[in-house]
């Protein structure tokens, strides 16, 4: 458990160092995610890596534990926002309306693009 958490933190730490060192416009943990994915894939290829947190259900179990209550982790930041709702004072209704319309449009356009592309791909593979 501790070794698995250490591995996750190590990936995050390496991600933060890479992002800051190269001034990448993305969060450090996203690079950490890629690193952990590469480590898991490498373990399948090279048997000698399957030890410590990488054997059994080690890092997998710890990760599932962290993700089981992903919603909880957004609450502290969300509460900060509740306290800043007065920032919306002047244009509040307009901003909320715009964000709502935009999120619905974005959801629909994204899901439609995904489905159309996936259908085109299936058709392309169907014909030799």
């Amino acid at each position: 458990m501790i070794a698995s958490l250490s591995l996750i933190l190590l990936c995050q730490l390496a991600g933060e160092i890479i992002v800051r060192g190269l001034r990448l416009p993305m969060p450090g943990p996203v690079i950490g995610l890629l690193l952990l994915l590469l480590i898991l894939l490498a373990r399948d290829r090279f048997a000698f890596l399957a030890r410590g947190p990488l054997q059994g259900d080690g890092v997998e179990g710890a990760s599932r534990g962290l993700l089981a209550h992903l919603s909880l982790l957004f609450i502290p930041a969300g509460v900060g926002v509740v306290q800043k709702l007065d920032l919306l004072a002047e244009h509040g209704i307009a901003i909320i309306g715009i964000l709502a319309v935009s999120v619905v449009v974005t959801l629909l356009v994204t899901v439609a693009t995904f489905l159309v592309a996936s259908r085109l791909m299936a058709r392309g593979q169907g014909k030799p």
């Binding site: 958490l5 996750i8 995050q12 991600g15 416009p25 993305m26 969060p27 450090g28 943990p29 996203v30 950490g32 995610l33 890629l34 952990l36 898991l40 894939l41 997998e60 990760s63 599932r64 962290l66 993700l67 209550h69 992903l70 919603s71 909880l72 982790l73 957004f74 609450i75 502290p76 930041a77 969300g78 509460v79 900060g80 800043k84 709702l85 920032l87 919306l88 244009h91 307009a94 901003i95 309306g97 715009i98 964000l99 709502a100 319309v101 935009s102 999120v103 619905v104 449009v105 974005t106 959801l107 629909l108 994204t110 899901v111 693009t113 995904f114 489905l115 592309a117 996936s118 791909m121």
Partner: protein, 240 residues
């Protein structure tokens, strides 16, 4: 008991214990209600925990700084949880690899839509320039969105507010919207909510379906990158 009834409160209000306990127990109750209603979209545990704790802080006159001293232990886990998304991604790698092209297409089109729709609507509504700039990156995770906002000399706090509002609205609306339009492909549903409503949408996706959660996590991560490249470009093109 101490002689002064307030000394207990003074102690509690200065230790992280109280607000950490409040955060966890409020969530435990909100999540219990969410489970009891079979994950009804309006029983979103993030939404309800947020306002309940917000009201508690208001009633007790507690500052956000004091609250965060306790809640930071929970907040910190966001980073490791993002790294942990590698595991469901790894476990579903075959499904993901088979959907690379649809994902890339949806990423580009969706990311542009998220930015253009909000900027265009805000221009039509006649909002001031600084407000429009602050709203533009609202579909990406708060840390990245605030960075973009700062680089545009907009208001990062207003950006944070719009990010969380977008996340909550997306997480609440996605299930009824997708059911109404008859979309049953959970890869597409997950990808859309991760792109439009970042982490809060991803948390919702994991509640509904594991594959949806995986695709939401990918969309969230990729959109953070694409949006930070696109927003500066979009605002120069769209705003006079």
């Amino acid at each position: 008991m101490s002689e002064n009834p307030f000394s207990l409160w003074v102690y509690l209000s200065q230790s992280p214990l109280l607000w950490l306990t409040v955060t966890l127990s409020t969530y435990a109750i909100a999540d219990g209600v969410s489970l009891a209603t079979h994950r009804h979209p309006f029983a979103n545990p993030v939404l309800h925990s947020m306002w309940i704790i917000g009201v508690l802080l208001l009633l007790t006159g507690t500052s956000y700084t004091t609250y965060f001293a306790g809640a930071q232990f929970v907040h910190f886990l966001l980073g490791p949880a993002t790294v942990a998304l590698a595991v469901p991604l790894y476990e579903n790698r075959k499904v993901v690899a088979a959907a690379i092209l649809p994902m890339l297409a949806a990423l580009v089109v969706g990311s542009v839509t998220a930015i253009v729709s909000v900027v265009a609507l805000a221009e039509v509504a006649g909002l001031p320039r600084a407000v429009i700039l602050s709203l533009a990156p609202k579909s990406v995770t708060a840390g990245v969105a605030m960075g973009i906002s700062e680089s545009l000399r907009a208001d990062p706090s207003l950006t944070a507010v719009s990010v969380v509002l977008t996340g909550i609205m997306g997480a609440v609306i996605v299930t009824p919207l997708m059911n109404r339009t008859g979309i049953i492909d959970f890869r597409a549903r997950g990808f859309a909510v991760g792109l439009a409503a970042h982490g809060i949408g991803t948390a919702r996706a994991f509640q509904v379906d594991a594959v949806a959660g995986v695709f939401a996590g990918i969309a969230m991560s990729l959109n953070a990158l694409v949006t930070s490249l696109l927003v500066p470009l979009a605002v120069t093109l769209l705003m006079r």
